[in-house]
Symmetry: D2
Subunit: 133 residues, 4 copies
């Protein structure tokens, strides 16, 4: 798809504009308060979740082609609402992503959290007061 | 940010690789079954929702700079988990996004849904059997 | 706890009244539009989800006493918001529960769905057009 | 409904037993790991959310009888999964509810939080270090 060969920022800005036009053509902008868009985004995340609720972890790693297509479209819905929200709130999502990756690397030093899924707060609390944990 | 000037697909593939390395360095890949990643994605969507639950729609359109920064980071978390999931499931998210936009345009013809937030199923049911609605 | 020895309906009505008083004393009723309460309820459901996202199914069956207490409190938060919402919307939750149980029994006949987690729509579609599934 | 005239605890224990039987008759117990049940509960909470995403706060206070019935059934689904989970985890939900209400009263003193929806952490941080907020 040639659209995806353009620079990332150009693509996302174009996508925001297309979503704004889509809403304008339908007079839907009135419904798209950020509050409402985050609700819709959360609902889409749950529709994705629903595909996985009765699957084992192992089954979730080996989706059938049909399941994978359905899951891909749910993921697309999330991406679309996320970019629609970014457009309405004037958020530079890639800037936030790159900053968050740096923050996460500092928050979860590899040699301290290796093999553990415990949250940052848990291991740091433990680090401070190991005897209390 | 120069990273975002690269072609979209290149950027996303690179991001998937960076997230895989991040998980490998921490031996976290074992926790990243798609089933678990969609749970984490849904949790992040709710953390975004939490910022808006007591705001009016009007307030949600005028976030303070501090609120906007917090919201941007929650959106980044969603983006990151979405790309991590796309990496694990080998999903081409932009292909799915572009297909979904075409599907949505067909599903919600502008002249039929203008100014209404009713769902597709509702207005089509009505279209078929207006007397029953 | 003696409160729980009273008839179910009496307990729930009393609970609704206590939650209304709690909100009134804090002048929080203004924030408790049903739209906002369902957002808060959904956020609480995700806080419950967060406790389980990195656990295996097996681990989720054997919570430590500490985990079980935390989970119990998250469940209580959901119960409280559900009853607060029922109070605001004047919903008789037990009536709806009993009706839904009858509906579910009709929707999922034991001899048709045994051992399968497929959704109602899937197996009925199959029932109609088994060759297409 | 006479069932709801029995003591609260008796009703809930009976409900847990009925839900266990419902699952056993369908051989669904194998799917009902707590991890999966919390996912299903979260999905139900989002189905409730979906009814409200495009409504204004004002509209959410004045549901039509049809909307209210649909909403009541979504709330029933949440109640049912919550009790199913309580059964599997052996959680005394009413005990947790009563304890949480006491905790909330201590956490949000009426004279300190009146008219404000700010979270506990925010106002206590402010209380400790007002100059930093």
């Amino acid at each position: 798809m040639s659209a995806t060969m353009v620079p990332m920022n150009t693509y996302l800005n174009d996508l925001k504009n297309r979503l704004q036009e889509f809403a304008d053509e339908r007079d839907w902008d009135q419904f798209h308060a950020p509050k409402n868009l985050v609700m819709a985004l959360s609902v889409e995340a749950s529709e994705l979740l629903e595909h996985f609720q009765w699957l084992s972890e192992e089954q979730s790693r080996k989706l059938s082609p049909e399941q994978q297509q359905l899951v891909a479209y749910e993921m697309a819905d999330i991406f679309i609402y996320l970019m629609r929200l970014a457009g309405k709130l004037d958020v530079d999502i890639l800037k936030a992503v790159e900053e968050k990756i740096v923050m996460n690397a500092a928050k979860y030093p590899a040699d301290k959290v290796r093999g553990s899924s415990r949250k940052y707060t848990e291991y740091t609390d433990e680090a401070k007061t190991p005897q209390e944990d």
